[in-house]
């Protein structure tokens, strides 16, 4: 399997997209992170999170410490205004959706922190989703990776990472496809999964995703948010 479409549509044309994705094809590793709007520097944190996953897929205390340190090196707190300092102290937050394929065993392992969504399907339709199963779950406040270690206590609790991980077998699937998407597209897909799965499979390029997202936003069926799709098949 290989990446056959990577596309993103920003919520605004005049600002950087806060979704970040990265791939390491020779290790069959893919990562997607959605920086939270209520953050000091969401794009920078999402970039650090994606790179950290591509470097090492096991997220633990040491992983977060190293990522936090790398993020903090980008800023000089002492020189900040009071408002920037306060926002920096509050931190940045992001999702992490990490996918690792094992071609030999024909498995896909997904790490899902937050509300970015992985979907496994084939020619018959959607076969599995993670971490959410229904569109309504996107209304919850997701638990996100925080740039300050102290704000990650729930993620570092015993068993939390195991709960955030799933392994899918690709055996028996005819022409398997994996999608990694950020929340606006995930909620849209799960609102009408059968029809919309087919629409996402038919996309041929970035321009077509851009047209789909703008049309669905315009008629109120998709939230106006940064929207990213990685398709692997």
């Amino acid at each position: 399997m290989r990446l056959d479409l990577q596309a993103t549509v920003a919520k605004r044309l005049d600002e950087p997209n806060e979704d970040v994705c990265g791939t390491l094809p020779f290790r069959h590793r893919y990562a997607l992170s959605d920086g939270a709007t209520e953050s000091f520097a969401p794009r920078q944190w999402a970039q650090v999170v994606v790179q950290a996953f591509l470097d090492r897929q096991a997220v633990d205390r040491d992983w977060i410490c190293r990522a936090s340190a790398r993020y903090a090196r980008g800023f000089d707190r002492v020189k900040m205004s009071w408002i920037a300092q306060a926002a920096f102290d509050r931190g940045s937050f992001a999702t992490l959706l990490g996918l690792t394929l094992d071609p030999g065993r024909r498995t896909a392992q997904v790490l899902g922190i937050g509300d970015s969504l992985a979907i496994l399907g084939d020619s018959r339709g959607i076969q599995a989703k993670f971490p959410y199963q229904t569109a309504i779950q996107f209304r919850q406040r997701p638990l996100l990776l925080a740039s300050h270690l102290a704000n990650n206590a729930r993620l570092l609790a015993p068993g939390a990472m195991a709960q955030a991980t799933v392994q899918w077998s690709l055996r028996g699937l005819h022409d398997p496809v994996l999608l990694l998407v950020t929340d606006a597209l995930g909620a849209w897909l799960l609102s009408d999964p059968a029809a919309r799965w087919v629409r996402l499979l038919r996309l041929r390029n970035r321009v077509q995703l851009d047209s789909l997202v703008r049309a669905e936003r315009a008629c109120g069926r998709m939230r106006c948010d940064d929207t990213t799709l990685l398709r692997i098949r």
């Binding site: 709007t37 520097a41 410490c65 300092q85 306060a86 926002a87 509050r90 270690l149 106006c224």
Partner: protein, 278 residues
């Protein structure tokens, strides 16, 4: 009337705080040795600080919110902001962030990320000073708030509706404010009617009544009137209210009666938790 609009820079929402500055706000809260006016001012400054932080990014402050403070007491209603912000009542959050009255240096203890704690210098802005004098012109302040909110909704028809938070410790001295409040609650955007939240502060040890669902649980006519003047908690804030007060029922009013320090802090925290920022 779904209260689900995304809050963005194109469609910001508005918080309008009405703060009672009548003479009775001078009364001390025994547990903390501060007057009601001082404690409410502290909580309001903290709330403004947190709202500005929510909108602050490495590249600057995003105008997701517009903020106003109306102070009422001693027969007058005036903007509760001073300095550069005293002109006009409603200001974008970036202007609020740029113009505190002063910024104080404080020290706080934070996790050092390695199992210990360190002292860290932090700056805390002050926008609102406590004042307490004279009577409680509640009708006048609600009338002025209504004019401001009509204008605001006309300019922001697609926005999440404005939230008006009235903080008082006593009865109106210029008439019955209930009729005017009913009119305020009819001001709307396409996403819902204006929300009116009432917080009654008190220094007694009585258990506060927080988010009641019926006026019958309130002990007196004044409490019952403030209940009727308060909006039901909108659907998007119900889960937040239940995080703090698990028994909060569907249809409960956004109202707290005889609130002490904990209920005052919680009320501001829940009332300003409009989410869905984009």
């Amino acid at each position: 009337m779904s209260y689900d609009a995304e809050i963005s820079r194109n469609n910001p929402t508005c918080f309008l705080f009405l703060i009672d500055q009548s003479g009775s706000m001078d009364e001390k809260i025994p547990a903390i040795g501060k007057s009601k006016a001082q404690f409410v001012a502290d909580v309001l400054n903290k709330t403004l600080y947190q709202l500005t932080i929510r909108c602050s990014r490495a590249e600057g402050v995003r105008n997701y919110f517009e903020i106003g403070v109306l102070a009422y007491g001693d027969n007058i209603v005036r903007s509760g902001f001073g300095g550069e912000l005293s002109e006009g009542v409603i200001h974008p959050i970036s202007a609020v962030a740029d113009h505190p009255l002063r910024v104080e240096e404080r020290t706080k203890t934070v996790d050092d990320g390695a199992g210990g704690f360190i002292k860290q210098s932090t700056k805390f802005p002050i926008w609102f000073e406590p004042v307490m004098s004279g009577n409680t012109p509640m009708c006048a302040v609600f009338r002025q708030a209504a004019e401001i909110l009509v204008d605001w909704c006309d300019r922001h028809p697609d926005s999440y509706p404005p939230i008006m938070i009235n903080v008082t410790d006593g009865q109106s001295t210029d008439g019955d404010p209930e009729l005017i409040t009913d009119q305020v609650k009819l001001i709307d955007t396409q996403n819902g009617d204006c929300l009116v939240f009432n917080l009654h502060v008190d220094t007694s040890d009585d258990e506060p009544v927080v988010f009641p669902v019926a006026e019958s649980v309130l002990p007196d006519q004044f409490g019952k009137m403030l209940f009727r003047m308060s909006s039901p908690i909108p659907p998007n804030l119900l889960p937040v209210a239940r995080d703090y007060y698990p028994g909060t029922a569907d249809g409960a009013r956004f109202f707290a009666y005889k609130a002490g320090i904990e209920a005052i802090v919680n009320f501001f925290e829940i009332g300003t938790r409009a989410s869905n920022l984009r």
